[in-house]
Each structure stands twice: as structure tokens, then as C-alpha cells.
């Protein structure tokens, strides 16, 4: 602790008021109370506000709850080029689900990080074998065990779910893709549209289907033992965080697109629209969804 270096006053000593006041000043000086005379661990949870870890947090429901799936929202795959507009995640009445940050929004300073997490209950559906259509991206051709070739699914076809934010006003009429995320509508070669993987920082991919090939032998597929399987209802999740230039965020919403598939062009990897597979079956491949949650936490980096 800090020390006061002045001799003590004893009985019989001749003293004046200034002696006393000088001594009192020793104790009353500003800054005398410092780290040395505050006991170890004096600052503890009672002294700390509840917001010390996360400055703010927000939560919203995505879609609408339906335990037994009697009601669902449905997104149909795009079969056109350029691809159809993305689907805004919404409730059964068509109202967009928005993670709202309030009338004043929330400011993410240069020393802050915005952490965003989401989940959604989804069910990819399809009819027939969309991957076998001529020109579909989602197919491989293997030699088979009867000296021919067999077309199988890559199981790489996916739906994508990604967030947009509005950083202009609480009117929430100017949603744009979040930094690091694009909308899969870049025509990068021929008739192919999509994102480089570098443009997928906030993307959640959702498998559209899966096919297994039993009893492959000596590097050849057994054409009579192809088993495709529906993915079924499942929960999917995603995450994204932002830190950097200061910005005020007023709200976020989520977009669904599909079907997409891995691709490459000039040594760059892409997630590309597979509009051929997306146009197969009656109805075309679809993504059903009900509800999920979106949450955001704003923290200081240090």
C-alpha cells in the first residue's frame, strides 16, 4: 500500500491547525488511492457490469415453428440462366424474418467484433435422379463392373443459406450481402453462374441428396447397387463474424439459393449454379424449411 511519510503526533506536542491540515492533506490528496492500497482481487464480479463480456446481444426467429411439419415454406431450385432471385427466409405468411438491431442500430467500432450465428430446420427433396440429366454438374461417370460406364451422383449438390445486412437505416429496405459474401450471380464462364469460394465467407451449404455405391470392385462401380438417399429433415447451422471498419448495423436477413455444385475455372474454385439438375423432376428439387434462430453478439476484441 502507499505510505504517508510524516512523523506521528504525540501527547504534549505543540501543534497548530496547519499541522493537522497538512496531515489531513496527506490522506486526502487525489490519486492517493491506487493499485497498491486496493487489496488484491478487490475488483470482482460485483464491480463489473453484466455487459463486460458481450456489449449487446440480439436474437430472432427465422421462418416459423411447425413441430410436425404440417406447414412448411418451400424454395424451388432455379433452372434458368441467369439464376432466379434468391428466396428471403420468412414466416408462413410471407413476412421476412429479420434480426432487428433497433431504431438506432448497433455500432460496431474498430475494436469490436460482431458474431452472428444461425440455424434452420430444413428438408431437401427431389424426384427421380436429377444428377443423371445431360449437362448436370452433379454427376461423375465411372467404369462399371460389366465393362460399361455408369453415371452416378457426386453428392456435391447443395442449397446455400447466407445473411444480408442493412447498414443504411432502420427502415430496413437496403439489404446487401455482408462483407465477404456474394450472391452467386457472377457469370464467370460460359453459361455458369456462381461465387468463388473466397466470396462464400458467410455461406452455409445444405446437402441436396446423397448416393452410395455398394460393392464397387477393382475401381469399378456396380451399376446394380446404387443407392440414393434423401437427406431428410435436419438442422443446419452457420456462423459469420465481422470486425474492421466501423459501421452501424440495423438488421440482418437470410437468403436461400439452389442448387449449386462445386466447380473450377482457371485454377479457381467455385460454387456454381447447377441449373440442369435444378430443372429435373416434377416438381423440381425443393428445399422445405420451418424455423430456426438467428443470434448476434457484439464484443470488444480486447
Amino acid at each position: 500500500m502507499s505510505r504517508i511519510n510524516r512523523g506521528r503526533i504525540t501527547d504534549g506536542q505543540d501543534i497548530t491547525a496547519s499541522d493537522l491540515n497538512d496531515r489531513f492533506d496527506d490522506y486526502s490528496q487525489a490519486g492517493a488511492l491506487n493499485a497498491f492500497n486496493v487489496r488484491d482481487a478487490a475488483i470482482d464480479l460485483p464491480q463489473v457490469k453484466a455487459d463486460w463480456f458481450a456489449r449487446d446481444s440480439f436474437e430472432a426467429t427465422l421462418g416459423e415453428f411447425s413441430l410436425d411439419h404440417t406447414s412448411v415454406n418451400t424454395v424451388t431450385a432455379s433452372s434458368s440462366t441467369p439464376p432466379a432471385a434468391g428466396h428471403i427466409v420468412q414466416d408462413f405468411g410471407g413476412t421476412a424474418s429479420v434480426l432487428n438491431f433497433g431504431l438506432s442500430g448497433v455500432t460496431i467500432g474498430t475494436g469490436d467484433v460482431l458474431r452472428v450465428y444461425w440455424d434452420l430446420s430444413v428438408n431437401p427433396t427431389y424426384n427421380g435422379t436429377p444428377w443423371t440429366a445431360v449437362g448436370a454438374l452433379g454427376q461423375y461417370v465411372f467404369n462399371n463392373t460389366t465393362a460399361g460406364t455408369t453415371t452416378v451422383a457426386t453428392s456435391g449438390n447443395v442449397w446455400v443459406l447466407y445473411p444480408q445486412w442493412d447498414v443504411t437505416s432502420s427502415a430496413l429496405t437496403n439489404f446487401v450481402d455482408v462483407p465477404g459474401q456474394s450472391d452467386f450471380t457472377t457469370n464467370y464462364t460460359g453459361s455458369l453462374y456462381g461465387n468463388t469460394l473466397a466470396q462464400c465467407e458467410a455461406t452455409t451449404v445444405i446437402p441436396a441428396w446423397v448416393q452410395f455405391f455398394a460393392d464397387a470392385s477393382d475401381g469399378k462401380v456396380n451399376a446394380s447397387k446404387l443407392y440414393d438417399s434423401r437427406i431428410g429433415w435436419r438442422g443446419v447451422s452457420g456462423a459469420w463474424h465481422y470486425s474492421g471498419l466501423a459501421t452501424t448495423v440495423y438488421g440482418m436477413r437470410w437468403i436461400i439459393r439452389g442448387l449449386l455444385h462445386p466447380d473450377q475455372n482457371a485454377n479457381v474454385n467455385y460454387l456454381a449454379y447447377d441449373t440442369v439438375a435444378g430443372g429435373q423432376g416434377s416438381p423440381n428439387p425443393q428445399l422445405e424449411y420451418t424455423s430456426g434462430k438467428a443470434s448476434a453478439i457484439i464484443m470488444r476484441l480486447g
Partner: protein
């Protein structure tokens, strides 16, 4: 600031040693026993606390090569596929997913929360080839986070083309921490084809991990 609690000495007042000693005794007692119960509550918030006093965050929104894993990249994969890990790249066991480690500079000792998420493509088809008498088991891409070489979290991972997120919590001593993010692919089956029928590049892609992001939080109290 301290204030008189016994009696304040003014000019011309009659003084005695006790006028001062009693005051000092009261004040010194207050100073030497100042602890958490005497301090006001809710005086520290995220604005007035020192940087890194209670917590510290390290994060990257796109880690690796534009968010893509760097363990291996086969440039001879099929055209309608990622350039990624194939069985021609010789990957096996746990391998670093990225060419450089993450350094959590200035970790002060305490609880570390770690989170790694992204998307993973896995080629799932050949899960049960001929003469494989075991129940078909999906091919997985496993994930684990190492902190100073010790697993913080290890998960079986994903078996389809889907999103993943692994989180773990541990306690570590003070000092910079080295973090490695590792992946593990399922090894090849003896009857599995590694190439498809195609003109030119025909290697079958096996695993790719992209949209990689990480976030670590050190909690010191």
C-alpha cells in the same frame, strides 16, 4: 477524496492530538481494509476497463487461402469439382489444414474458448465396397483444434457436403498460445476408383474445407 469523519480542524480552533489521531485511525483503517465489499458495484464496464483486462478475442473471417484449406490441392481433379484433396495427394491421418499456425498473442492465463467453422465437401459414395464385410460407415472429414500441441476439441466431423462448427473450452497458463487447426480424411478403400471416365484431368475429389473462420476468446476472470 477523503473527508473528515471525526472533526475538521479549522484556523484558530483548539486542537489536541486526539483531534488528529482519531481521524487518522478511522481513515487508515478504511484504507488498509479497502476491499470488494467497500467498492461500489457495477463500476466496470466494457468501455472503462483496460484492454484485455477480462477477456480477449482473436478472430479471422476468412482463414487460409481465401478461406480454403491448404493441406493439399490436387490440380488434376475432375472439371466439375473443386481443386482439393484427392487420394493422389497422399494425405492421411491428422494433418494441419493450413500452412501456418495461429498465435494467440498475449494470452494472460485462464479459460480459452475456441471455435472453428466453415463448409466441408466429402465424397461419400464409396462407403462400402466389395468384400467390405463391415457395416457401411460414412466417410468423414474430422476436425480438431490443437493448442500448444494439445487437443482442445476433436470431432468426427461431417460426411456430406455441409457446414460444420467445432467448439472447445480449456484452461491454459499465461503466455502466447500456438493453435493448429487439423483435419482427418477417411483413407481409401482397396476397391475404390480414384479416377473417373473423363477427358484430361480425372482424379476424383475427396475432401475440401472452405469458408474457414475461427474465433478464440480468452477469459481471464
Amino acid at each position: 477524496m477523503k473527508h473528515w469523519t471525526q472533526r475538521e480542524a479549522r484556523a484558530g480552533v483548539t486542537v489536541s492530538p486526539d483531534a488528529l489521531n482519531n481521524e487518522l485511525r478511522a481513515q487508515q483503517s478504511s484504507i488498509t481494509t479497502l476491499d470488494r465489499t467497500q467498492l461500489p458495484v457495477n463500476l466496470v464496464d466494457h468501455n472503462n476497463s483496460e484492454l484485455n483486462a477480462f477477456a480477449q478475442v482473436w478472430q479471422a473471417r476468412a482463414y487460409g487461402n481465401n478461406g480454403e484449406q491448404q493441406a493439399a490441392r490436387d490440380t488434376k481433379t475432375l472439371g466439375n469439382a473443386f481443386q482439393c484433396i484427392s487420394y493422389s495427394t497422399g494425405i492421411s491421418g491428422w494433418v494441419n489444414a493450413f500452412t501456418s499456425s495461429i498465435t494467440l498473442t498475449g494470452f494472460k492465463g485462464g479459460t480459452l474458448f475456441g471455435e472453428w467453422s466453415g463448409n466441408a465437401f466429402v465424397n461419400p459414395g464409396f462407403a462400402a465396397t466389395l468384400n467390405n464385410n463391415f457395416p457401411g460407415s460414412p466417410k468423414y472429414c474430422g476436425f480438431r483444434i490443437l493448442v500448444n500441441g494439445v487437443p482442445l476439441v476433436e470431432r468426427r466431423g461431417v460426411a456430406l457436403h455441409e457446414h460444420f462448427r467445432v467448439v472447445g473450452v480449456g484452461r491454459f497458463p499465461q503466455g502466447d498460445l500456438q493453435v493448429d487447426l487439423q483435419l482427418h480424411i477417411t483413407d481409401i478403400d482397396t476397391n475404390e476408383p480414384t479416377t473417373a471416365v473423363a477427358v484430361g484431368n480425372a482424379n476424383v475429389p475427396q475432401v475440401h474445407v472452405y469458408s474457414n473462420r475461427y474465433l478464440f476468446v480468452g477469459r481471464y476472470r
